[in-house]
């Protein structure tokens, strides 16, 4: 195999001018991110947790809703396969923590993606057009902001019944507001920049200016905010589940497991410790990655 510089040298010797690859700002950021040990470590741990969650059914002889009558609320035991112990109904805690990870991570990612798509588009449009359109759009955001979140969730539950999708909807509906504000602020400072003016002068359509020139340039702070939103959403879901507004039995999430564990903290500590450790670890990892990304994307702002 020929490496790239040898190839370049050969082509140049043959008289062909070779196109030099530039180093984009994204690539610079990636290099800086991978130099950050905490961020890289966090990515590895998160990767392991995600893999565990995805392949959960293959990793345990028990199903998440299977009751093992012989071992009810027993501590961790490697010999019978209940490595995290069992809960009050005799269900294996290891597999339940992994299934909880599925729900928690899915809520985190889905709600954040929803908030990303709506928030970025909404904020960019409001900031780009400015004036009256901006005013109307942002006052609408203010109105939604002033809605008490718990009240909103409880109303949804009352009207539509308990459903995991309601959690996605409720969280997404709240999280995109902040995203829209961040993107709007960034867009306002971008839209008077000269390269946007150059695009106007060339006759590039507004739609293309937003998607080709504005959004790629606001993506830095957006990605950082996104990685910090995921743990926030996971935490909110845990909080809702803790209050009994979250997922329905026998499906579980980290919040539900922690809530159950907290009730029996004196008798069976393992029921609290294992889900709590997974939750805390995940939150730590997302926060470290968010910090790393912020440093990587904005090297001047350290």
């Amino acid at each position: 195999m020929m490496n790239k510089s040898e190839k370049t040298a050969m082509l140049e010797a043959a008289g062909a001018p070779v196109e030099i690859e530039g180093r984009s700002l994204w690539r610079d950021a990636r290099i800086r991110l991978f130099r950050n040990k905490a961020a890289v470590g966090s990515m590895i741990i998160l990767g392991i947790i995600t893999l565990l969650a995805v392949f959960a059914p293959l990793l345990s002889p028990y199903a998440y809703d299977q009751i093992d009558w012989g071992y009810i609320q027993e501590g961790p035991n490697w010999e019978n396969g209940h490595i995290f112990g069992t809960d009050g109904n005799g269900r294996d805690l290891f597999i339940r923590v992994l299934f909880g990870a599925r729900v928690s991570l899915a809520v985190g990612l889905l709600a954040t993606s929803v908030s990303l798509v709506i928030g970025v588009t909404y904020g960019a449009v409001a900031g780009f057009f400015g004036g009256k359109i901006d005013n109307i759009m942002m006052r609408f955001v203010d109105v939604l902001y002033s809605l008490p979140f718990m009240f909103f969730v409880i109303m949804l539950m009352v009207v539509f019944g308990r459903n995991i999708f309601l959690i996605f909807v409720a969280l997404g509906a709240v999280e995109w507001l902040t995203m829209a504000r961040i993107v709007r602020g960034q867009t306002l400072s971008l839209r008077r920049r000269e390269f946007i003016e150059a695009a106007h002068a060339t006759g590039v359509s507004n739609f293309k200016i937003i998607f080709r020139h504005i959004i790629p340039n606001v993506l830095g702070p957006v990605i950082v905010y996104m990685t910090l939103t995921i743990p926030q959403v996971i935490l909110t879901e845990s909080f809702l589940s803790f209050l009994g507004l979250g997922v329905q039995e026998p499906l579980t999430s980290w919040g539900v497991l922690i809530s159950e564990g907290a009730k029996v903290i004196e008798a069976s500590t393992w029921m609290l410790i294992y889900p709590a450790v997974f939750l805390a670890l995940t939150l730590f990892c997302f926060n470290f990655i968010g910090d790393g990304l912020r440093d990587a994307l904005d090297p001047k702002d350290r």
Binding site: P17, V18, E19, I20, E21, G22, R23, S24, L25, W26, R193, E194, F195, E197, A198, A199, H200, A201, T202, G203, V204, K208, R212, H213, P216, N217
Partner: protein, 338 residues
């Protein structure tokens, strides 16, 4: 209206751009909650013609409306009044759809070379954007070939096509900006202080490049600057702006040899002469005070508050642009007696 010819031999050509009584007023919120909006008169009644292949210099101090004028001509800022006739057709207030085909003939080069390039795009994408917008039928290969040809033309290595703006120096970035403006082979380029962010040796290269391109493509340029030496080098005619008003409009040789307006005289006397003997002994007209606020400009002649020769008439009557010779117009009541 006055018609002045820039160069001998082009007497019979008609102007490609005619600006008549162009006004750009911005509404500024009044002081206090219910106070009415105030008007900031950035450009207040500017007239001129521009001929094919001509360079018109627009000079004046900061805040006199030079850049606003340039953007108003391109309809990047909506003018509040007057006409901009492009090839005889008024384009002020044209809907987006009608403006679109004209955009390929009207381009702009900016002051800050790096800020005028999208940091997330390769320079190939940046230069290709006008082509992709106006001639998408060309296809990827042809667009790339044209971009490379234009890069070579403005003095960039074509193999740099995949690099990003931050990998270039200021002068190179300005060449990229010029390449983007030139790729559609426009008829008019507004140069908004294209060299004032560059150091002197690079300034000369960029100015020479613009002149070469002008000859090659029969370009018209509106060259906005506050550097009178560069304006003298590149422009055929020069327009002096003060507080959004034209003070003097004349061809290059006349305005430097024989400035008629007191403001022009002051500006030109401020240009350093590279001979210490002459420089020390020359007569300098020093203006006192600052540019008045364009929100409440002085009555009559806007320059009267700083004019060493101001008389009563100046406060009451707005001076009209007067023809003093075939190639010179002055807006001063007393240009004969000064």
């Amino acid at each position: 209206m006055t018609v002045m010819t820039p160069k001998s031999g082009t007497q019979d050509t008609s102007p490609i751009l005619s600006v008549r009584d162009l006004k750009v007023h911005f509404a500024i919120p009044g002081k206090g909650l219910f106070a009415p909006d105030r008007q900031l008169k950035a450009v207040d009644g500017v007239n001129f013609d521009l001929y094919p292949g001509e360079t018109l210099g627009v000079v004046g101090e900061s805040g006199c409306g030079k850049s606003t004028l340039g953007r108003a001509i391109l309809q990047l800022i909506a003018p509040s009044g007057g006409q901009v006739a492009w090839l005889g057709k008024n384009i002020v207030g044209s809907p987006h759809r009608e403006m679109q085909p004209l955009r390929r003939d009207l381009q702009i080069i900016f002051q800050d070379p790096l800020a005028s390039l999208n940091p997330r795009m390769t320079i190939g994408e940046i230069i290709a954007e006008p082509l992709v917008t106006h001639k998408p039928e060309l296809g990827k290969e042809e667009i790339k070939a044209r971009v490379k040809r234009m890069m070579a033309r403005v003095g960039l290595l074509p193999q740099m096509i995949n690099r990003y703006p931050h990998e270039f120096s200021g002068g190179q970035c300005q060449r990229i900006g010029i390449a983007r403006a030139m790729i559609l082979e426009p008829k008019l380029i507004v140069c908004d202080e294209p060299v004032s962010a560059l150091d002197v040796s690079i300034q000369a290269q960029i100015v020479n490049l613009l002149q070469e391109l002008q000859r090659e493509f029969d370009l018209s340029l509106i060259f906005i600057s506050h550097d009178l030496s560069i304006v003298r080098h590149i422009c055929h005619r020069i327009m002096v702006l003060y507080l959004g008003n034209v003070m003097e409009l004349a061809d290059r040789d006349n305005i430097y040899a024989n400035p008629r307006h007191p403001y022009t005289k002051a500006l030109i006397s401020a240009v350093p002469i590279p001979d210490p003997e002459i420089e020390r002994n020359k007569e300098r007209i020093v203006l006192t005070g600052d540019l008045p606020s364009p929100i409440s400009p002085p009555s009559g002649c806007v320059f009267r508050t700083r004019c060493p020769f101001a008389k009563d008439k100046c406060a009451s009557e707005v001076p009209k642009l007067d023809r003093v010779s075939d190639t010179q117009e002055v807006a001063c009541h007393f240009h004969d007696s000064l």
